[in-house]
């Protein structure tokens, strides 16, 4: 029906969607989750499990419906070239906001390594800080601070699993690009194969990361409580891991859509947006590997 009229007139009006209850329902879901978690953190009489599971179910259902709706709108040809540009700009700015989010945590890492830990050790004009407040503290990195929070720990080694993980993630950036080229050449089977390979690399990365975390907690006594080293390590790699998880889910959904026959060689922003996101988590990992593990 509508899709035909669009096929006949590709330079149609900008697509303005009908009124939608999705955003409101998504907000209800998010509010339920945060209210439940807030009650749990303060041990208040709040039915946390109920609130969080209801909120999460609602949110996941809405996110699924929303993206499904967008995918169907796209497949029905509702989006003209201008809408396509909107998605490109929108995704670029979204990734920029993610860069700034990681920037806050990288900033914390650089600040503690370059300024606060040396200051506690008496560097610069802070000699008295060291002499009066924290005598005997020697500023070295990794550090869990002069109060030795979390006790003795064994820091992360760069050239074991993390190095393997680096190779995995960089390879996955290549495989997703090959998948993209295959899609542009209209070789769908090859494209899906490279996507599956990318997903496998991402999942292996996550598995190794989980193994590293378990080893850190059980063998190295290296935890979130291990002073500022543990804090920056687990928050940076943890948020990165969360993004890899999201990215892997997105790759899986795109692969299913490829199998369903979605996307055309010249019209597949859904694919490209996910690929951009994947490259973004890859770049963040390279920075993490450099500044958290190696240096």
């Amino acid at each position: 029906m509508a899709s035909q009229s669009h096929a006949a007139n590709p330079h149609s009006r900008y697509y303005v969607p009908h009124p939608s209850a999705w955003p409101f329902a998504l907000t209800v879901g998010l509010a339920l989750i945060v209210y439940g978690v807030a009650g749990w953190l303060e041990q208040r009489q709040v039915p946390t499990t109920l609130l969080v599971s209801a909120g999460a179910l609602l949110a996941v259902y809405i996110i699924f419906s929303w993206f499904r709706g967008v995918a169907l709108e796209s497949e029905h040809g509702a989006y003209n070239a201008q809408v396509d540009r909107t998605f490109r700009w929108g995704m670029s700015w979204f990734i920029f906001s993610e860069v700034m989010f990681f920037g806050a945590f990288f900033g914390a890492l650089f600040y503690t390594r370059v300024l606060s830990v040396p200051w506690l050790g008496g560097a610069g004009a802070k000699l008295l800080t060291n002499l009066v407040l924290w005598p005997h503290f020697e500023a070295v990195w990794p550090s869990n601070g002069p109060a030795h929070i979390g006790g003795d720990f064994e820091p992360m080694e760069a050239w074991g699993l993390p190095a393997i993980n680096t190779v995995l993630l960089i390879s996955s950036s290549f495989t997703v690009t090959w998948a993209h080229h295959a899609l542009k050449d209209n070789r769908r089977g090859r494209c899906i194969a490279f996507m599956l390979l990318t997903i496998a690399l991402g999942a292996t990365f996550l598995g190794l990361q989980a193994h590293e975390y378990i080893h850190a907690y059980t063998v190295q006594n290296m935890t979130l409580h291990s002073g500022v080293y543990g804090s920056t390590f687990f928050m940076l790699t943890g948020f990165h891991g969360l993004h890899v998880t999201l990215g892997t889910l997105m790759l899986i959904i795109i692969t299913i859509r490829l199998a369903l026959g979605h996307f055309k060689p010249d019209h597949h922003f859904g694919f490209e947006g996910v690929a951009w996101y994947w490259h973004f988590v890859d770049v963040v990992w390279i920075l993490l590997f450099t500044f958290v593990y190696v240096l």
Partner: protein, 550 residues
Amino acid sequence: MAHTHADHAGHGHVHDEHAHGPERGIMRWIKTTNHKDLGTLYLWFSGIMFVIGGLMSLGIRLELFHPGLQYMDPETFNQLTTMHALVMIFGGVMPAFVGLANWQVPLMIGCSDLALPRVNNWGFWILPFAFTLLLSTFFLPGGAPAAGWTLYPPLVLQTGNSFPLLIFAIHLMGISSITGAINIIVTILNMRAPGMTLLKMPLFVWSWLITAYLLIAVMPVLAGAVTMLLTDKYFGTSFFNAGGGGDPVMFEHIFWFFGHPEVYIMILPAFGIISTIVPTFARKPLFGYASMVYAMASIAFLSFIVWAHHMFTVGIPLAGELFFMFSTMLISVPTGVKVFNWVATMWKGSMSFETPMLFAIAFIFLFTIGGFSGLMLALAPVDFQYHNTYFVVAHFHYVLVPGAVFAIMAAIYYWIPKWTGVMYNETLGKIHFWWSAIFINVIFFPQHFLGLAGMPRRIPDYAVQFTDFNEISSIGAFLFFIGQFIFIYNILRCALFRKGLKPAAARVWEGAHGLEWTVPSPAPYHTFEDPPQEVDTETPWVAGHPAVAH
């Protein structure tokens, strides 16, 4: 759901008169994807928040009317100052500007809606939920957050039950701001009418392009900062704990890396509004259009490298004090360019003084006073005396109330005939203006003297020698608040009770230029579904366009 979109996509071509007007009842507002509906919702929400935040400030001024503790304990006072700031910044000023952008950006650049209308709906509806969570903390044991809106650790980590709700409310507001900003920036970059190059855009649109960039750049940083607070309190991290190698001052750095651009997020759209209104009522093109754009861009750039001027007394190294002092003073150059250009626009203009123009002129005067006190605060050695005194309170209220809030009021008077199709009552508008302009100074001018004499901020009690100025300030606050009911009455007449009001023409103001004045008043539910092709590039869309200047 999956089918309805396709129907819509089709029927746009079949008919030109559209059946898809708004839905009826409450669901219209819950489900709307229309930029005008959402602009209206943003403005209503912001108005409610201004009243709530205003009542909190009256609580503060009531307690400060006399020295000693009369009406509340210090903890309640601290809750009021903290929540007043959070409500006014994130609930009042920012949503008001987003509401104005929602209404005006598509009308000014000639496109049918914002680029991502459903995301736009999401960005709005997060706010009522976020503020319900935040305001509900008043009813928790221990009350609302009381450590100041700047959330400095370790003090803020002593917050009780309300702490996680505070953090999550800020996360939600961040999502709202970022999605809203992405939407606006993409709309401006992607959906301008043919021929409207970047340097032909109306300045309000320019101001929002830059503001949206700042929002996307710094709201995630705030999200990161409050996440670190959350993990420090509940999950044993040591970001702001010197014992673990962290530093409480690090929070201040991260916070103000967000916080200073945030200040400009609250003033750049006001610059855009003033740059729109002054040429209209001076009946002259804006003086120095391009320099206005470059000035805003410079201010935005500088906003990223001045943050530590909020922290001169915290013990940063001398080199830091010097760098941040000089970079801060640099901001006065582009700001001076803007003030000069507004004045030069009025020079030899054929001026008339309708309410929006009165507010715009008051903005120029009073914002400049706030700018000068800011220049004083920028001087590191002098700031050691001013820091944490009422001088700071006077400074930022001068730039935020007769600055940002006057600009919002000016914008509402200026565009409400376009939104509602009727003229507001000009006499009441003028009374509202003079009332506000007088009493805003009665509130805040004496606070300069209080601060210079050494009265600290955020303390419910004070030494008796400060009584006189505090009494004047409190009387001014109550009278200013009462005067706002004139404004509320005036705009509610336009919005809801239009009977007997004069209908507005399409071009409401004779000196106004721009695409929004080419559509009827009230603007139809859908405008510019097809871009305005007939407008050629020589047409002066922008009051400051070179074609008009000659």
